[in-house]
Subunit: 336 residues, 2 copies
Amino acid sequence: MRKRLAIDAMGGDHAPQAIVEGVNQALAAFDDIEIQLYGDEDKIRPYLTSKERVTIIHTREKIASDDEPAKAIRQKKEASMVLAAKAVKNGEADAIVSAGNTGALLAAGLFVVGRIKGIDRPGLLSTLPTTDGQGFDMLDLGANAENTPKHLHQYAILGSFYAKYVRNIDKPRIGLLNNGTEASKGDPLRKEAYDLLANDDSLHFVGNVEARDLMAGVADVIVADGFTGNAVLKTMEGTAMAILGQLKTTLTGGGLRTKLGALLVKDSLRGMKDSLDYSSAGGAVLFGVKAPVIKAHGSSDSQAIYHTIKQTRKMLATEVVTQLVTTFEATEKGTE
Amino acid sequence: MRKRLAIDAMGGDHAPQAIVEGVNQALAAFDDIEIQLYGDEDKIRPYLTSKERVTIIHTREKIASDDEPAKAIRQKKEASMVLAAKAVKNGEADAIVSAGNTGALLAAGLFVVGRIKGIDRPGLLSTLPTTDGQGFDMLDLGANAENTPKHLHQYAILGSFYAKYVRNIDKPRIGLLNNGTEASKGDPLRKEAYDLLANDDSLHFVGNVEARDLMAGVADVIVADGFTGNAVLKTMEGTAMAILGQLKTTLTGGGLRTKLGALLVKDSLRGMKDSLDYSSAGGAVLFGVKAPVIKAHGSSDSQAIYHTIKQTRKMLATEVVTQLVTTFEATEKGTE
């Protein structure tokens, strides 16, 4: 049976064009998926070139990027994102993808799609770049502002499943983000989490990891509380943006010699920029809910949307969410 | 009266050579300072070209970079760092500088030099780079693993003093590092800190700031808890290192065309790298103790040591620590 993806066509900076064009690409590439496009039919239709395995579910309502998340989900009952989430809840779709309001999608994931039994606090997970090109998964990136040691333990399990099933890493190395590498480091949250991770034989725990070493690929999965994870993610983004911006200014703003040099190194630099761009790994996953809920970056172009659909398809094909359900229900890890 | 700096000659990756050479530079540049060099005289002497305003206080004991900080301070009573801290405590020196074991220097600052009355948790402060070259001060960068809202409030005051006296910013803009810019964002720690900052008329509080915007210069002082501040600092370092490393690999590893281009842009890129290098702002200050306690980066070269001495001199000349003492004792802000 084909996998059915419910896609919010109206979310993101370049919606609906980038979303619909990404869908066109994905439908051409994968014949085992069906797409439901939620949004304004008049605005979607002009970009839609695919004829098969795609339906438009028309609605004019949408959630704005500055809407208050929980309120928007409650009040805008006909919004494209809300209808897409309901389709998943009602079994009419297998996963939801949106490039829209992050907070609203998290709320839709938690309250419409729903948590997996035994998982206390689903976390936001992304695959981020390393210099060796392998990348690492980090969670929680900010679905929660506060976490307990047990939450961090669950994130380790969640991240391990994701790395194994979606990224094909046989025995993912789990690192705990801390303010030093020694076992005794950190606040009480980190110390207790460390003990839980070290004593869980199902995990390949490699110990504490410092933020300085993340891009060097010291672990396949990095476990963080949502507040710190969010700060680290945004620092990576901000620092990379600032440096690449300065690089551009330097090369284009220099004298003739620099300008000529810039012309010669241009292609190589583009290759470097692509290797730092991790949009080919897809979007951020709200992991721990009953179906894949995927947030594509707000600035996604059609290529990024295509990659996010590819990632969602992989999550569905590997049944990683079903594996989570089985594990957490069977071992009751969530309620120990 | 000349300012007297107690300098640990034995700490850091390039000690004592880089330390002593930095001291030579500083003594030549500033005639209003005296330097006390703590360490192994046989190893210091060969590098010391200055003849005046410098004394060597000989000791063979030193703290290693992997020594357990508090224990090292307690047990290695004759270590260069410990003797330097004691000189400050005993009024024989006005400030201490070390490029050695960070934790040990923090412990020496807290337990030998001592906290200013009314300041609960001195914070580690550094001036970090922005793309406009102005930089921003952030604290706490990891002197503490846990903080209360009151600590964050005190960090705002401390940072404000530093930016004003040492960086000559008339009315420093204070930002609270948070997971969103809206006033309602964050965990209870951030929400309570926000209220304290917003209600303190002595501060120019500009609200919540996201880590993504730090290098864009959204504030002059960023207030963070020590755990998050440490993670953000290390992420900035790690990301910058990874990108600049990839840049180097890309330019030197390319074909003839790239290599030629690299040759042409080399000087411009060096200028860019220098602008990202913030060692000219000096070292990290343990701020909130009774005298300047300055941690130079472990990898400091002589130039970085020179800048750290220059920064220490500025702290002494502006009497910023005395200002802090007066403020905290007078208003009893620390005990409200």
